[in-house]
Amino acid sequence: MTEGTMQFKFNFEGNKKVQEILTEVYNALKEKGYNPINQLVGYILSGDPTYITSYKNARSLIRKIERDELLEELLRSYLER
């Protein structure tokens, strides 16, 4: 893991896909100089893939998860930690 790379930790196996995708998208955004949290929040709120860079295939990756599932996993991960 390079310095500054974010790892999202979820509590159970079922959301491994979300964890992997979110981590890859986060890192791609960071490498391109964005504030990854702001960009991901923007995407979750609006649904517009413009928020997600096409770098490292991040834009395609994020679309593999439905936004409601993504939000569910984030809330579950936060509330159950």
């Binding site: 702001n38 923007g42 517009d48 928020y51």
Partner: protein, 424 residues
Amino acid sequence: MDKLQIEGGRKLYGEVTIGGAKNAAVAILPASLLIDEGVCNIDNIPDIKDIKCLENIMVDLGVSLTSERDGHVKINPSSIKTHVAHGENVRSMRASYYLLGALLGKYNKAEVEFPGGCSIGVRPIDQHIKGFEALGAKVTIEHGYIRAEAPNGLKGANIYLDVVSVGATINIMLAAVKAKGTTVIENAAKEPHVVDVANFLNSMGANIKGAGTDVIKIVGVDKLKGCDYSVIPDQIEAGTYMVAAAITKGDVLIKNVIPKHLESITAKLLEMGVNIEEYEDSLRVYCKQRPKAVNIKTLPYPGFPTDIQQPFTTLLSVSEGRSIVTESIWEGRFKHVDELKRMGANIKVEGKVAIIDGVEKLSGAEVMATDLRGGAALVIAGLAAEGVTTVTHVKHIDRGYEKIEEKLRKLGASIIRIIDKKYE
């Protein structure tokens, strides 16, 4: 003025790569004026006339700007010498009004000659002015110029837009990005290019949240810096090639698109019986039979885009059955219909509604591009028509379509440009 001559009846086959979004790029270039240090390296800038005009305007302002053939533009605004933009280039395009927001945001004062652009109806800038005034600027219109000035600086404010306006949303973001305090734009436009401009500004160090929703929050920052950025693909150019593939009963892979941005167009084409396969950043559009009639109504994003209504009307003119097109954004957006009628289309316009009874085929004729998207609609008609179509006043099409004849020729169309030496 140049003409495009098209020998119709050829199916389009192959791949076409979509350029950068015109409507994003024309706002992103002025936005780069706001930086206080560094340079902006922007990729995927489309090779179109409106961009060339804008680049000329920025050079006239004193900006150091290098434009390369591959769509890369490098901008260093440190040598900018004036807050006044005027001249033929300013008057020839609509988006020159973004200089108002950018210069006001940078210098707390701006003077820009009244913008031009396509004649597609009354295009007021009252919501832009309302926004600037809410931020503390005094705005006057005199002698063909719009002047905005805030001697005591701009201050954040809550601004409710009376109508959803992409231009006003972006212009207010540009002005507010360095204002003191927080600005909230309510009833904001949600178009992808609004998000792209907000992304670009955030890459420069701005603090903008909520773009792409109807509430945008902008927390003013003291300084902005240069950045590297790539403009999103043009949804309207992509939609135009989708329609071209369908009307010629061709099979085209449209590359460099964001399929999400094309959902409303895709949905209508599917309803018409056109086949569409969606990939990560491309779409395959193919059609084997005559498309069926559908009704469309233009709406702000994510509704059906007004910019695609005109090309779509051409497709509906040869579809099976009766279609009703309701144009709810611009009242002057049926000017291409008279030209389509010359080619045999059966369309009746009543106010904001067009009733289209699809005909079996169109026939080639000399027609005039009355505006940008209307011009594209006539090129599409020419591709499908029997015989030769000549589209005059191509200058309108050149404002927004990158290398249109080159891209169509690569797909198998028979299209040539006849250059009018008188105007060279």
